[in-house]
Symmetry: C2
Subunit: 231 residues, 2 copies
DNA sequence: CGCACACTTCGGCGCCCACCGAAATGACGA
DNA sequence: TCGTCATTTCGGTGGGCGCCGAAGTGTGCG
């Protein structure tokens, strides 16, 4: 407890409480690094405005950046930022839907999206549930534990279990999904598995700047083979 | 998934992003209803300013109110608001400590406080850990489950198990503690148990408008009897 | 080396929000 | 019924922040 301080909720709330910055953070929930120019476009602001917003987000510890040539890439500072944004989504008001396109987009977000580094939405919840139904994970007070059967199955799917285990965070844990209101799988296993499902072509990013994912026909068949029940 | 919409993170961020409103929400994390006048004092603003802030918090769904005579009592709209605020605390910057008094206050918050309706801090984590060490709770994919031994023990402590079970939320689940960075116990069992520990005099509220709790000598003895290891 | 691109810095502008005092409204008690 | 208390409403004030264009800086390429 040494060094514990009270925290400044207002400071982080103020960072989030601007539509342009919120749009950028939402785009970064796709888990990829985006350039300042891309984030300017996402937020529909000029480059100078985007630069000032990104400076504030960096200063506040929500994003971090790396220069690469003439480009500066930004990403969320870590899974703890993704988790906090997901948690805040539970009490955020719904955005008014002003067209069929936006309604479809919201539905797509609910079906499959990234929650920073892992799969969320209906598909993410299905993967969570099927991992327990098939005995691949056990629930423990310290979070979820991989079983022997789970190690075999996730290895078969191409998950790098050594890397998953060496990560300095939980291998697997629940993350309450704000669209499904049930837990989806989070943790280093979930992150690695999500990368694999994208590599396998089961999931495809809809665009570079959106966290929405599309489940391919191959992916639907694959998930159903695993026992997932999908609408 | 019908009716799912994208959510407006900026709107909720803007609600939180004011020091006066954040102070009020923090005070309401004690789990008790406070009057508009008390919240004005907590935030060090005039009654009119407080009234305007509370109107915005109500309009945004973060608090709800009830009139009782000439007083209007405000409280958090539900445990989901408490959970979101706790989650946001993980990424909030530390408040600068400008005196020994504030440092002591921050330490006290880390030791024992309410997380809306349940015990958080070192004591909350200890209760969580001891519940598993003693076999009173089992971890399941759907959250924590009470064991037969747990039912006997919590009933012995005075927890109303019928009420705990009939609650429309998880009986017991983990809640990641922002000061300890480990889970403490949340859910209807944790809420009822926390009320009992206060009723038993093991925990005492330090003031009406703070979520900090003081562990009494009786309480320390009682928790240690249960197997809690406390500094 | 010069040009183009990406991004940052800075000054200016306009808007929004927090603040408060005064007045109004509702509840309570003598 | 009147005075007091609690809270809300409203108009006014001032400060802060988001926005942008222009200029500056750093990188890449022909």
């Amino acid at each position: 407890m040494t060094g514990v301080n009270d925290v400044d909720l207002a400071a982080v709330g103020a960072l989030l409480g601007d539509p342009s910055r919120a749009a950028m953070l939402d785009a970064l929930m796709a888990g990829r690094a985006l350039t300042a120019g891309e984030l300017a476009r996402v937020a529909s602001v000029s480059a100078s405005t985007a630069s000032e917003h990104l400076a504030r987000l960096s200063g506040g510890g929500l994003v971090e950046s790396v220069k690469q040539g003439r480009h500066r890439y930004f990403r969320l500072a870590g899974p703890q930022v993704g988790a906090a944004l997901e948690a805040l989504s539970h009490i955020a008001p719904a955005k008014p839907v002003t067209g069929m396109r936006q309604s479809g987009h919201a539905k797509a977000l609910g079906f499959a999206r990234t929650c920073y580094d892992h799969l969320a939405g209906t598909c993410g919840v299905a993967v969570h549930d099927v991992s327990f139904a098939n005995g691949w994970l056990d629930a423990t007070p310290a979070g979820y534990a991989l079983t022997a059967a789970g190690e075999r199955e996730f290895a078969r799917l191409g998950v790098d279990l050594a890397r998953v285990r060496s990560a300095r965070r939980a291998v697997a844990r629940p993350c309450l999904d704000w669209t499904e209101r049930k837990p989806h799988l989070a943790g280093s296993l979930a992150a690695d598995l999500t990368t694999r499902l994208i590599d396998l072509g089961w999931l495809v990013r809809r665009s570079r700047e959106s966290r929405s994912l599309r489940l391919t026909e191959t992916g639907r068949a694959g998930l159903e083979d695993l026992g997932c029940v999908l609408p």
